[in-house]
Amino acid sequence: MKVYILCIAVLIICTGFFFFQIGSDRQVEYSELIKSTANNAADAAALFYDKKKFSHGVKVYDKDAGNQAIAYIIKDNLNLTERMTFRSPYFSASEPIHYHAYYFDGDGKFTIYRDGSLQSSSSISYPYLFQEEKTGYKKTITVPTVIVTINAGSFKYQVQFIKDPDIIRTSGYEYKD
C-alpha cells in the first residue's frame, strides 16, 4: 500500500512537470514569434515616408500607411481573428492583443499610436533616450526610427501553480544614412 501511494505521488509530480515543460517551451516559442512579428511590423512601417520632405533631407514617416502595415502584419503573422484575439488556447479568446507604435521623425516629432489610434505627439531633440513603458526597454535614438511593442496578454499555463506571465515584446527598425 505504501509503494502504491508513493508511486501515485510520483506520478502526480511527474505529470505536473510534464505539463509545465510543454507550457514553458510553448511560451518561449510564442515569445520569439511575437518578437519576430514586432520586428516585421516595425520594418514595414519604416518603409513609408513623405518623399517631398525626404528630398529636402528630412525623413517624416507616413503614419497612416505605417499603421495599416503594422495592423496587417501583426494580424497575419500571429494568425489573429478579426477582433485581434489569438486562436491559440494558450491565450485569452476574449481579450484582444494591444500594440504601440512609436514614430521618431527626422524633424524632431515623436508620435505614439496605440492600436492604430493616436495617443500623443510631442517634440524631441536627438539624441533622445527612449524608454518603453511596458518593458522598460531603453534605447538612445539618434536617427529616424519606428518601434513597435506588442502586448499579447497573459500566456495561460495548464498547471495551476504557475502565475500566468504577460508576453510583451518590442522591436525597432532604423535606417542609417
Binding site: 509503494v3 502504491y4 508511486c7 510520483v10 506520478l11 511527474c14 505529470t15 512537470f17 510534464f18 515543460q21 510543454i22 517551451d25 518561449v28 516559442e29 520569439e32 514569434l33 519576430s36 512579428t37 516585421n40 520594418d43 514595414a44 518603409l47 513609408f48 518623399k51 507616413d62 500607411a65 505605417g66 495599416q68 502595415a69 496587417y72 502584419i73 497575419d76 503573422n77
Partner: protein
C-alpha cells in the same frame, strides 16, 4: 514480493516521463533553431524582394545541417518567388508571403503504450506570415 510486483506494474508509466522530457526538449531545440534560421532567411528575402532559389537552397541546407536525418523534400517552403517592390502606400499585394515547415517525427514517447499510431504521432511545425519588401521598383515601371 508484493512491493516488487507493484513496482513492475508502475515502472512503465514512470519511465515514460523522463523519456518524454527528452523528446520534448529535442523537439523544442529543433524548433528554436529552425526559428532562428527562418528569421535570418526572411531578412535576406526582404532585401531581395522575394525568396530567390539561392535563399531557398541556403535555408534548406542550414536546416539539414542542424537537423539530422532530414532530406530536402521534408522541408516544405511555400513562398513568394517573384519580386515584390516597395510602394509609397501600403498595399498588401506587394508583401512577401511565406510558409516554411519542418517535420516533427515524434511528439509522444512510447506512443504504442497509449494506443497512438506512428502516423498520428507526427506533425509539422509551420512558420508563416508576411513581410514587407525593401526592393526598389525598377525605374520606368509604374505598374
Amino acid at each position: 514480493m508484493e512491493n516488487f510486483i507493484a513496482a513492475i506494474v508502475v515502472l512503465p508509466f514512470l519511465l515514460f516521463f523522463p523519456i518524454q522530457y527528452g523528446v520534448e526538449a529535442v523537439n523544442h531545440a529543433h524548433i528554436t533553431h529552425f526559428e532562428a534560421i527562418a528569421e535570418s532567411t526572411k531578412e535576406e528575402a526582404k532585401q531581395e524582394g522575394y525568396f530567390t532559389p539561392q535563399i531557398i537552397d541556403k535555408l534548406k541546407q542550414s536546416v539539414m545541417d542542424s537537423y539530422k536525418n532530414l532530406s530536402p523534400s521534408d522541408i516544405e517552403i511555400t513562398a513568394t518567388t517573384v519580386p515584390r517592390y516597395r510602394t509609397d502606400q501600403f498595399d498588401q499585394r506587394e508583401l512577401i508571403t511565406y510558409d516554411i515547415s519542418i517535420p516533427i517525427d515524434k511528439i509522444i514517447a512510447g506512443n504504442e503504450l497509449f494506443g497512438i499510431s506512428d502516423a498520428d504521432n507526427r506533425g509539422r511545425y509551420h512558420i508563416k506570415g508576411s513581410i514587407a519588401s525593401e526592393l526598389l521598383m525598377p525605374p520606368g515601371d509604374k505598374s
